[in-house]
Amino acid sequence: MAKNNFSSKIFLYLVSAVIFMFFFSFMLVPLYNVFCEVTGLNGKIYGPSSFFIKDREKEKDSREIRIKFLSQVNESAPVKFFPSSNEVKVWTNKVSKTSYIAENTTDKQLTLTIIPSVSPGLAAENVKKIQCFCFEEQVLMPYERQEWPVRFYVSSEVGDNVNDIYLSYTLFETDRVLTDNMNHGK
């Protein structure tokens, strides 16, 4: 019955391949995040990356860069949200300050999550935030209006071809996202 042994061996081998590939699909999530972190792609903001920046001169003359501020509100959030100024010119390696304004338009307390994104993606790692409302969840009381400060600087390691950087924030209502998703089956 050598043939049947061979048959069950190959069967088990194939079944384990299936199980491996199923878990591999979940491994794609951390792999993707690590890949984005190492390469600094996708406009995600992480620590410094070594992948694209090689032996660039550390100290260069400071130069002027234009930062444009954008804001978006996810459809689920009943909030007015906009930057206090639409653009500023900053010098590299010099800390600048701006702010965003958020206003609760409901009579309920809201918990908000704000996700930043930088474009072009390769410049994302060079925008260093010292203080940001995106670091933690924000709470707005009914009809409350708040001004949220952002302190940041643009590192001089930013690519020579980058003259404009877009800093965009998308605001989500934290509770609503979860409860909406939990409830829409009903």
Partner: protein, 525 residues
């Protein structure tokens, strides 16, 4: 290759009577028949949906349905044609042909074979049952991009249906691999295997590699929708682009799952009706293996516009273009096989030649789409729709029709009506081209896909396209008629059926007895 066979008739092993025969059957021929009929029913269902889509697009404006209904039809048309029509048809052909082509008495795991078929109707009942629920059918496109899809009602039904289909495909593939590896007739080496068997061996490995990834993707979707995770939802720190990566990591090999068996079928038919051995048999095998391997490193060409860095775009562009080389090898081998052959143009040969020509057209528009800067222009236009319909309809589906005409005499013992077959071919051929060729034009002119309405300047070609779609769709009823007529009547077929046909399946009687090759045939290499 020559073969010695003995057939024993075991009356006590004959099929059961009535419906129980089909419910409990473990016979590869019965299961193949079930798969083929199921896929034909799904083909007509998905086709009816396509005709609904084309009826709405016949002229600008909204006439027959609102955009929500339109999106549901587009989504279900895609899902049904891919998972319900093309894939089950190939599995049905595999069930019928692989044991007969390698001289095995049945598939290696017959009970699992029965289960993997019966899971399939269950999956489609789950999926289609949402039509009668509040919220209706899924309408987010067959690619179910998150977080659009996670915010749809009835997403759980969709997820479970995909899970069940996936399990069915995986079990089918395991069966195919175990059968091929373990049950070949003594003396048949891997390289001597018929090309249809080779193409299915490679396809089965692709399925085993990527169907679990699809299962993972829909599981993440389910968790995002109901269990509060945020794999793809930016609000919770997830990433929508990640979904596209995971999906197309499955999706691109899936595309080749739907075309590799067609390569095998076409090779057999062209060789038979040219009355010449296939040119470059082993290069065909290597070409299919390279296509399968490359299919894992090209997925991001579906998403050039998401904002990838230049290096990644260049990599995926070149990797995609390299696939043209093994594909070109195959096309040239088919042409070289036809060259100086003693050709006759029976219906299977007509479909096979149309396959080679029209699939090549679809492949060339694929090369245009692979060019990254051009893709930014073509992305999500009707040019893409024209491209993938050219490789799937006159590609995959023509090859399935060719296979049905080619092996139908072996399955039923009767010859089909050649005149009717040719009529069916010409109606289909004209219908397909009238439907999809104009979509290249409107796509290049900028008509976006997945809309129920369009700008006035696209009206003429859309009307032409709709007329073609009705012609193609309705002529498939002729196909149904021809097949049913052949099952019940027709000129008796000989065992050899076609005078150029070679291979073990042509050495058994027509119709093929319920049990074949109970004693393995001897194959001399």
């Amino acid at each position: 290759m020559s073969a010695v066979i003995e057939n024993h008739d075991h009356e006590h092993h004959g099929p059961q009577k009535g419906i129980l025969r089909w419910l409990f059957t473990t016979n590869h021929k019965d299961i193949g028949t079930l798969y083929l009929w199921f896929s034909f029913i799904m083909f007509l269902t998905g086709g009816a949906m396509a005709m609904g889509i084309r009826a709405e697009l016949f002229e600008p404006g909204l006439q027959l349905m609102d955009p929500i209904r339109y999106n549901q039809l587009v989504t279900m048309h895609g899902l049904i044609m891919i998972f319900g029509a093309v894939m089950p048809a190939f599995v049905g052909l595999a069930n019928w042909l692989i044991p007969m082509q390698i001289g095995a008495p049945d598939m290696a795991l017959p009970r699992m074979n029965n289960l993997s078929f019966w899971l399939l109707p269950s999956a489609f009942i789950i999926l289609l049952s949402t039509a009668f629920m509040e919220g209706g059918l899924p309408g987010f496109g067959w690619t179910f991009y998150a977080p659009l899809s996670t915010n749809y009602p009835n997403i759980a039904y969709f997820v479970f249906a995909i899970h069940v289909m996936g399990i069915s495909s995986i079990m089918g593939s395991i069966n195919v691999i175990v059968t091929i590896m373990n049950m070949r007739a003594p003396g048949m080496t891997l390289m001597q295997m018929p090309l249809f068997v080779w193409s299915w061996l490679i396809t089965a490995y692709l399925l085993i590699a990527v169907m679990p990834v699809l299962a993972g993707a829909v599981t993440m979707l389910l968790m995002d929708a109901y269990f509060g995770t945020s794999f793809f939802d930016a609000a919770g720190g997830g990433d929508p682009v990640l979904f596209q990566h995971v999906f197309w990591f499955f999706g691109h090999p899936e595309v080749y799952i739907m075309i590799l068996p067609a390569f095998g079928i076409t090779s057999h038919i062209i060789s038979t009706f040219s009355r010449k051995p296939l040119f470059g048999q082993s290069s065909m095998v290597y070409a299919m293996v390279s296509i399968a391997v490359l299919s894992f490193v090209v997925w991001a060409h579906h998403m050039f516009t998401v904002g990838m860095p230049l290096a990644a775009e260049l990599f995926f562009m070149w990797a995609t273009m390299i696939i043209a080389i093994p594909t070109g090898v195959k096309v040239f081998n088919w042409v070289a096989t036809i060259f100086k052959g003693s050709i006759t143009y029976e219906t299977p040969m007509l479909f096979a030649i149309a396959f080679v020509v029209l699939f090549t057209i679809g492949g060339l528009s694929g090369l245009m789409l692979a060019i990254t800067p051009a893709d930014f222009q073509y992305h999500d236009t009707y040019f893409v729709v024209a491209h993938f319909h050219y490789v799937l309809v006159p590609g995959a589906i023509f090859s399935i029709m060719a296979a049905v005409y080619y092996w139908l005499p072996k399955w039923t013992g009767n010859m089909y009506d050649e005149k009717m077959g040719k009529l069916h071919f010409w109606l289909s051929f004209v219908g397909v081209n009238v439907t999809f060729f104009p979509q290249h034009f409107v796509g290049l002119a900028g008509m976006p896909r997945r809309y129920a309405d369009y700008a006035l300047q696209f009206a003429e070609w859309n009307a032409v396209s709709s007329v073609g779609a009705f012609l193609f769709g309705l002529s498939q009823l002729l196909f149904l008629y021809i097949v049913i007529k052949t099952v019940f009547a027709g000129k008796k077929a000989t065992a050899q059926v076609w005078d150029g046909a070679e291979g073990l399946e042509w050495t058994v009687d027509s119709p093929a007895p319920y049990h074949t090759f109970e004693t393995p045939p001897k194959v001399n290499g």
